[in-house]
Symmetry: C2
Amino acid sequence: MIDCSPGFETSPWELRWCGLDLEAMHRTESIFALSNGHLGLRGTFEEGEPVGLPGTYLNGFYEKRRLPYAEAGYGYPEVGQTIVNVTDGKIIRLFVEDEPMDMRYGKCLEHERTLDFRSGTLRRNTVWSSPTGRVVRIRSERLVSFTDRAVAAIRYEVEPLDGDLDLVVQSDLLANEPVPIPGGDPRLAAALEQPLVADFAAAHDLSAVLAHHTRRSELRMAAGMDHELEVSATPRCSVRVEDDLARVTIAADVPGGQRLRLTKFLGYGWSSRRSTPALRAQVEAALAAGMETGWDALLRRQRDYLDQFWATADVEIDGDPELQQAVRFALFHVLQAGARGESRAIPAKGLTGPGYDGHAFWDTETFVLPVLTCTVPLAAGQALRWRHSTLDLARRRARELGQSGAMFPWRSINGEEGSGYWPTGTAAVHVNADIADATARYLAATQDEEFETDCGVELLVETARLWAGLGHHNSSGVFRIDGVTGPDEYSALADNNVFTNLMAQRNLREAAAACARRPDMAGKLGVEPDEIARWRDGADRMAVPYNDKLGVHEQSEGFTRYARWDFAATAPTSYPLLLNYPYFELYRKQVIKQADLTLAMYLCPTAFTADQKARNFDYYDALTVRDSSLSACTQAVLAAEVGHLSLAFDYFVEAAFTDLHDLHHNVAHGLHIASLAGTWLCCVGGFGGMRDCGDTLIFAPRLPDQLDRLSFRMAWRGRRIRVEITAESAEYALLEGDSLELTHHGRDFTLAEQPVTLPIPRLSSRPAPEVPHGRRPYRRL
Amino acid sequence: MIDCSPGFETSPWELRWCGLDLEAMHRTESIFALSNGHLGLRGTFEEGEPVGLPGTYLNGFYEKRRLPYAEAGYGYPEVGQTIVNVTDGKIIRLFVEDEPMDMRYGKCLEHERTLDFRSGTLRRNTVWSSPTGRVVRIRSERLVSFTDRAVAAIRYEVEPLDGDLDLVVQSDLLANEPVPIPGGDPRLAAALEQPLVADFAAAHDLSAVLAHHTRRSELRMAAGMDHELEVSATPRCSVRVEDDLARVTIAADVPGGQRLRLTKFLGYGWSSRRSTPALRAQVEAALAAGMETGWDALLRRQRDYLDQFWATADVEIDGDPELQQAVRFALFHVLQAGARGESRAIPAKGLTGPGYDGHAFWDTETFVLPVLTCTVPLAAGQALRWRHSTLDLARRRARELGQSGAMFPWRSINGEEGSGYWPTGTAAVHVNADIADATARYLAATQDEEFETDCGVELLVETARLWAGLGHHNSSGVFRIDGVTGPDEYSALADNNVFTNLMAQRNLREAAAACARRPDMAGKLGVEPDEIARWRDGADRMAVPYNDKLGVHEQSEGFTRYARWDFAATAPTSYPLLLNYPYFELYRKQVIKQADLTLAMYLCPTAFTADQKARNFDYYDALTVRDSSLSACTQAVLAAEVGHLSLAFDYFVEAAFTDLHDLHHNVAHGLHIASLAGTWLCCVGGFGGMRDCGDTLIFAPRLPDQLDRLSFRMAWRGRRIRVEITAESAEYALLEGDSLELTHHGRDFTLAEQPVTLPIPRLSSRPAPEVPHGRRPYRRL
């Protein structure tokens, strides 16, 4: 029998789950998902069942759904988008002497699955005894190729452990697989039950292709499989296809001690424009290339790709092996979400599950792209190119809502607004400044002129135009932005939200700077000097409400005058509050779902003095309940900046284990990619004190007592650098590229070939703020 | 042929439509609706077709419908209610020599319909020539009895005008009549198509009964008919019933110059508790009583009832016959909406159409009950008893939303919240203060101790408790009410809305006063002296935001800092704005849908100085677009108070003709009962300057140049008085009851048997404010 209790094992470069726990299946399927940002496979078992939530996703491939309203309103989106579980190619069913291999039956004698962060594969090792006592070992390894984005592959081996066995293996492509519908929602069911309409099916030898399209969104896709079989006995092979199923069947009598090894190659493609024959050809070409490359070479390319990634992106932690693992797990999944999206969005859940309907939000620009910009800059640029490709839709949306410039959607797959609740959807216009911020940050970090020409200037200009129209000067000349919603979704439709206003200010200034830098582009976009002057003026006179009496900024105008939420009277079971209190009550009280002003202090660090940051952090931290996974990382970063290192560590732990320990009880529907990215932000922005929103990279490293050493790498303007932090000092090393100017705790220095070691100034201790009653950061047992 | 162009004719005591205009049918059906507040019949033709929107309504009889949301939220109501078109008993079909009488065919030689405000009947006189040229005169008269609330009756006469004619008359009860579904909404259709399930059908002689129940709300109803037939020839009569149809058929050969007269008696009943046999018995008893009373006596009782009503409620206008008619039309429909509701709501559309799903809103308490309180006090008391009967639901709703006391629904038929858009639904908590205001106003006007004991104190206490919990003291001790929505639905979720805060203040004080007056009731309700002290304190320290710079109150905190709506750039076709702009844009600008602060100045007159009222009125009038029919009357009242008499007259005209001239293009779905009530408010509150929110009735009469004389009557504490206003003076007369103290333009006087004539002080003229570009008050051609 299995000799370990089910759960994750700690290891620096892999995530291993040892033992069988069917209850945990839903979340392990998300955690063990493989993806390259274009194609995603949830970590389901090859046998197809037992399964929590089957999932095979193609980035950008969605079905439409009707968005209904009890009371209609002008400008409400009527059609939403929802990610589709496409044709499943992961399935390899096994029959042992006529008994289906199903881990719910028989006995599982060994079982282990390993997600390897360096090989980029998911491995499995299972020893199973059938209900009648026949024992087999099953090993599998699968990958979704980072280098060949249309290709995935699975190596599957079966070994009889107690003498000869009759084995039958069925390798499937299965379309319209039944999926559980969240909340039993009948409207969602209407969109998601049998979403694929069969267009074409063909098979020969050990290969097959199925082509389908979606009923309403009319997107076309094709999936293909081909196989290599190694078995000592002479197998009996057949293949057949139906509309929604292609099946290769292999029957073999395998002698004890021998094994059957099947290598399955998968190719996927989709398009809104290309025909079914073209898609079929595309998939068959991908398969042919994958077969030609072969399993071993695919593995090698995968490892090379990851070696490069880690050389730029690795974070090392001494003193907490679990955290070391969690941080690499996080980086691995951020890479998987963004690596090869190529002009598609990076959804909030990546391609790990159907949560949030597969939509992308502001999370991408604010949490994920800052990480990718410093680790896989190309991927960050591609994600911003996706935004740019939706600019016409955003301009149309702005016109529809009576605004200037562009209004990007709050949530979307295809660029159209998909939010069905406008007060924290459409009204959360900060998404536009967030996109501009990510654009400016990317430009500063990469100096990618092609991107600037193709996309960057236009993104900055069109978002700046929105702010110029949205704000207005009051009678004292202050530039106000009224009636918008900031990041904190427990407030809505507020005036002069500091986060929004400061981000808009940055947006206006970056647009003005871009136009000054690129007068050619400015001319093309019809930007006149008067318009730029208005942007500068709006930015300079931006309202930033401050409560003199309390000595803190106001999250938005009047916020500090609201009644404080009664945290002491709120039971732990009442969280997340939005499931137990009406918005009516939440909006009118001082209670914060997720960092808002605190996030402004991170993203616009120069808009606050150190004293203000300290007072603001303490004031707002005591109100922030972290009902969103986007909060802990920001709180960690600012806690570190204002000197609460132990609290920063606690928030870091919460961010790092959000998915691994399923802190929000919804990992089954997919990982929180932004929170995973936030884990990196905790290390680099938090304990590294890195700020990259200007022309110089700034560091202010400081280690919490709980860690012995923290080292991270990053890319910046063609360099690669490493920063290694201990309690006393930080060592900066240039791994690649020309020397550059950096700042360490306010002191400028030049980093050239020789590493530079600088002392870390002592911290004068300050008592940490009280966190809301019952909402202490997560602590591991 | 008809010798008048189709349209209304002016007449002081009736509304006559002369000529045939099938295009106008939808709205005339609403305008000619008959109702006693319990049973309502739309003014459709007896023949059943042509028809705009068939409608027979029983107050409180509804079907449930699902309220869907694109994104769900805590506390959102999931089940809504919608008024049902019940079994139609109005139908009397006629066949003339085998040709169906249908005004779309043949020729209409004469056609006239008259709603008589004194007889309380709808009369019709039609001369019709069939396609083959046979000519008949059809006269009908119908009533819904004010005295016998379950009974309606129709007298129907056919007279051959060109020799003998074979006539067939079919008198029907028809259930599940097809109705057009607004906007083709499939969810509404699901609730409203075939809403009635047949339970029972029986017939004998010329009578029949059908009993049904609703599918989801499980309410039961029965409708019965019986007939008296007068015809010289020997008729051939038969009756038959099916599940959804009962039909009495009369065939007779009527000689020229003779006539066939059918008197149809209808009885209706519904219940959520009584069984089908009990309902059948109830309906048959009502029918028997109606038949026993007989047509002539029913007519007489109807006239007596109305004579009494007009003796208390009549308004006379000299100098504008159209307005005279419009005001009586308005009063007649207000009476019809409220007369015999008897512990049911008064819906926004009365029982004249299916608009707003048949829901009641705050309109009832704020606009309709002030009129009924002074004209049919019993009906006002009954409507408040309905609110009281829903108190348990309101308490439960308050608990659900984390509030104290009671939270009444924004819209409802049965007392449960039916609003599917919370920012201007649930968040418009002022409805609770409006109910308290109507309660206090009713108590002051009637001194109805039984009501006070049964309902009044409890209504005041439970609503006061809501405010005590909803508000909070800020650090300077000011009592704030944050994040609520006032009457103006182009603003939402604002802080310290002046209307809400002042109405809450009144609510808290009235509750405290009621508890002081009735310690027995206070004790029963568990009100401790401490609680009362908190109410008084909250009221005394209530926040009432004021902009010192502009010298005006703020509609809500910060409102005057918003950008002003660009009225000049708004096309006339862009109104109502809510159909052409998103809430996002409306909420963040200075633009007002309907009187808000101006309504506060009317309902809480002592909270403002005369100067403040004048400045506030001018400031806010220039922002108010009147996209709601609830606005013009309030603006008229305040315009009169601050001395803009000509503007007041214009708003009065707009209010008076809102339905008759279909100014909001939706009269087809029912009349705007609150706006009709507002017509009375214009006369009495506006030009009469009457204020009844204290212990003394206050008047400040002043006539606009456009009128020669205005006289109105009202009831107050057992008295009936008449006030007659001319340009120079006002005469006060006591028509019934003991002498009383009144105030005339700030001067107290005693009104006893002798009429008192007092001069009207001269008005110093002041320029009227500019109304929003393109939104001048309605003017008649």
